[in-house]
């Protein structure tokens, strides 16, 4: 499904992704873990098509080249990104935003537009899935939402958009235990044979709820280790020190781990 080969991303002289390879099959969930600043969000943005990076390498989704596409075309191709920092859009009603989004990708795919009342029904079901009060449909997009509410709103959007590939960037950060369970349940219910997910996280506890098929460790712009979910348990106990020391021959060792 998703094929990433030798992906590089840089901004000016700063190189962030340094030749990243990743294959995600249909129906699979891959977790990506790695220290702060290692390039996890950059990977997500490179897949979603954010402006401002120089990008190299290959990214295809079902054989279609994504790198040539603008973000909205990638969305129409089925790419969804759950933002680490969801953006506030004051004055724009959440429901209107969602319906415009859904109808935009439908138009791009040549599908029929969804009317307001059919949409409302679907949106309310999706809200129940993430246990969100229906009032949130009538508030401005993310404006004044708490950190946790914003993250739930991302999952709500994913549920409405029904993407082929979802990249969730730290959707678990800032969630309390109950919210974590709700968000995980939302993700699990969207799990399906035609949908692939990349879940970026710092915490192995999310992976207790969302059992990934693979776990990858991203360090300094490269995937340095891949394994099954037990890799996350290992990281929980040992941190990233092993990988940082071994794989970056020119990286300065700043102090010994405690």
């Amino acid at each position: 499904m998703l094929h990433v080969e030798n992906l590089t991303a840089s901004i000016g002289d700063t190189s962030i992704l340094k030749g990243l390879n990743l294959d995600v099959g249909a129906g699979e969930i891959h977790a990506i873990m790695g220290p702060n600043g290692s390039g996890k969000s950059t990977l997500a943005h490179a897949l979603a098509g954010r402006d401002g990076y120089e990008i190299g390498g290959t990214v295809t989704l079902d054989g279609v080249d994504l790198l040539e596409m603008v973000p909205e075309d990638r969305a129409a191709a089925g790419v969804f990104m759950g933002f680490q920092y969801p953006v506030e859009i004051p004055g724009v009603n959440n429901m209107y935003f969602l319906r415009t989004a859904l109808n935009s990708v439908r138009r791009a795919r040549g599908d029929e537009q969804i009317g307001a009342s059919d949409f409302l029904k679907g949106a309310q079901d999706a809200m129940d899935l993430v246990e969100m009060n229906h009032d949130f449909l009538y508030r401005s997009v993310n404006a004044g939402f708490s950190g946790g509410e914003k993250k739930r709103n991302e999952i709500l959007q994913m549920a409405v958009m029904q993407p082929k590939l979802a990249v969730l960037d730290e959707t678990d950060s800032g969630l309390d235990i109950d919210a974590l369970r709700v968000v995980a349940a939302g993700v699990n219910s969207l799990r399906g044979p035609d949908r692939s997910m990349i879940v970026i996280t710092h915490y192995q506890r999310l992976l207790d709820y969302i059992k990934p098929d693979f776990v990858h460790v991203l360090v300094d712009g490269k995937i340095v280790k891949s394994g099954d979910h037990t890799l996350a348990l290992h990281l929980e106990d040992h941190g990233y020190a092993d990988f940082v020391n071994h794989d970056l021959d020119d990286a300065p060792l700043t102090g010994a781990p405690a």
Binding site: A75, M81, P90, G91, T100
Partner: protein
């Protein structure tokens, strides 16, 4: 330049969609302004002696006055002798049946999306259609009269309700108020008159649609709305003009009189031709709008200003009666080389008076947008309150936004609050929308409309939809 910025520029280069002109058989006066011109206008309209005298007094006053100095505005000198002060489509007199309206005029309004056939009209909106200097038709007149509401052209009102006009004309905006008000008082051509009797809630929205069609003419209309005690009216005005290389002058005066416990809601969607992307042509929109609110009365101005090369207007409220309320909601968009200097004046005289001001300025391309507002609390205004919020949105690097609040407080019990913000449409907001599948243009329109939400919420439904559409169209080719 990022892709986004390029996109914005492409967006703000959109064309003006109402730029066509219609070939109407027009009665037009030669350019120039003398006492003779004033007499000619008055004679054309068959006006009573007192009104001619009033006009002449205004003309004398105007001759002694100077143009206001254009603090922020860059404006080429206006030659008042090169303008024609009277132009009227030859179809006359004003006809009562829609079927008698000149088909060319009807077609022009159809093209503008304002059908004049009553059966096709937006339900519940009565329209007074004004082309160049004269009112060509007023719809739903009969229905309104049954409720006691008078809605007609100003010229008709002068003939049919002279006492009402005599009592109120110039009572809110005196002839010497400012240069353009004096000019208007001398040469005003037509406009709308509304009268809502005591205790009546006007059964439909009243609306005037202004269209400048002829070349080298000025448009000087005069609107007067009188709401008697305990009455209520909502009034809308819209305007467009053809695309021409010369600047055209529009200097209107609007006076509102809100008697005790009455409410007047006045909404404007202004879309005069803004000029082209090089700043050639466009309407000079120099307008004086003011209302007087008596005891417990409320006057609310809502404006969406997207057109004109230069906009100079400060819809104001004199809060004369105790507990009277004044509101000003404004969206002003300047793109291309447009300049806007707009805001409001809230003059608190009565006790416990309150005013609120919500101003949203959007600047794109080379547009310059200034909010200029005065909040004046007189000694008599015990416990007066004002809340002002001015938000500016910049779309691009060459545009500008300025906020110039004047606050004069003579009574220590006053509470005056002022908040201001300036922001840009974040690349992150655009990216977020695009990640969700919207193209850049739709995303921009959505974000900008969101920014204006508080103001659009004040507009009647049909107008709110129109305003959003206009904003999107005006941003096309100008934003990134």
């Amino acid at each position: 330049m990022s892709e986004t910025m390029r996109g914005i520029e492409k967006l703000t280069e959109a064309d003006y969609e109402f730029g066509f002109s219609t070939d109407l058989d027009t009665d037009i006066a030669p350019p120039g302004l003398t006492e003779e011109t004033v007499r000619l206008i008055s004679a054309k309209k068959d006006e009573p002696e007192w009104l001619l005298a009033w006009r002449l007094k205004a003309f004398l006053a105007w001759q002694e006055m100077d143009e206001p100095d254009w603090t922020k505005l860059q404006i080429a000198p206006i030659d008042y002798q090169s303008i024609s002060y009277w132009a009227a489509p030859k179809q006359r007199p004003v006809l009562d049946s829609m079927d008698d309206v000149d088909p060319d005029i009807r077609e022009m309004f159809d093209k503008l999306g304002i059908p004049l056939h009553e059966q096709k009209i937006l339900s519940n909106v009565a329209v007074d259609a004004i082309v160049d200097s004269v009112s060509v038709v007023t719809t739903f007149k009969e229905t309104l009269l049954e409720a006691g509401v008078i809605f007609c052209s100003f010229s008709e009102a002068v003939q049919d309700y002279p006492e009402l006009i005599k009592e109120h004309l110039g009572s809110v905006v005196p002839v010497r108020d400012n240069f353009f008000a004096a000019l208007n008082s001398a040469v005003f051509s037509d406009g709308s008159f509304c009268y809502i009797p005591e205790g009546v809630r006007c059964p439909m929205e009243l609306s005037t649609y202004f269209r400048i069609n002829s070349m080298n003419t000025g448009q000087f209309e005069r609107t007067l709305i009188v709401a008697e005690d305990d009455s209520h009216v909502s009034y809308l005005e819209g305007c467009t003009a053809p695309q021409r290389d010369e600047n055209q002058l529009h200097a209107a005066v609007v006076e509102l009189v809100a008697k005790d416990r009455s409410e007047i809601k006045y909404s404007t969607v202004q879309n005069w031709y803004p000029g082209d992307e090089n700043g050639v042509g466009g309407i000079y929109n120099f307008v004086t709008k003011r209302g007087r609110a008596h005891t417990d009365a409320k006057i609310s101005w809502t404006q969406v200003e997207t057109g004109s090369a230069i906009t100079w207007k400060y819809p104001s409220v004199i809060l004369q009666g105790d507990r009277s309320v004044g509101e000003f909601y404004s969206v002003a968009l300047t793109s291309k080389h447009q300049q806007a200097d707009t805001g409001t004046k809230m003059i608190h005289i009565g006790a416990d008076t309150t005013s609120s001001i919500i101003s949203k300025g959007i600047s794109a391309a080379q547009g310059q947008n200034t909010y200029r507002g005065l909040v004046k609390i007189l000694r008599s205004a015990e416990n007066a309150r004002n809340y002002t919020q001015c938000d500016s949105l910049l779309l691009g690097k060459e545009c500008g936004a300025h906020t110039v609040p004047y606050i004069e407080v003579k009574n220590p019990t006053a509470q005056v609050e002022h908040e201001a913000s300036t922001s840009t449409v974040g690349e992150d907001q655009l990216y977020y929308c695009r990640q969700r599948g919207m193209n850049e243009e739709d995303a921009m329109a959505m974000i900008v409309n969101g920014f204006c939400r508080e103001v659009f919420d004040e507009l009647p439904m049909e107008f709110a939809v129109e305003a959003q559409r206009l904003l999107s169209v005006s941003l096309e080719g100008s934003v990134g």
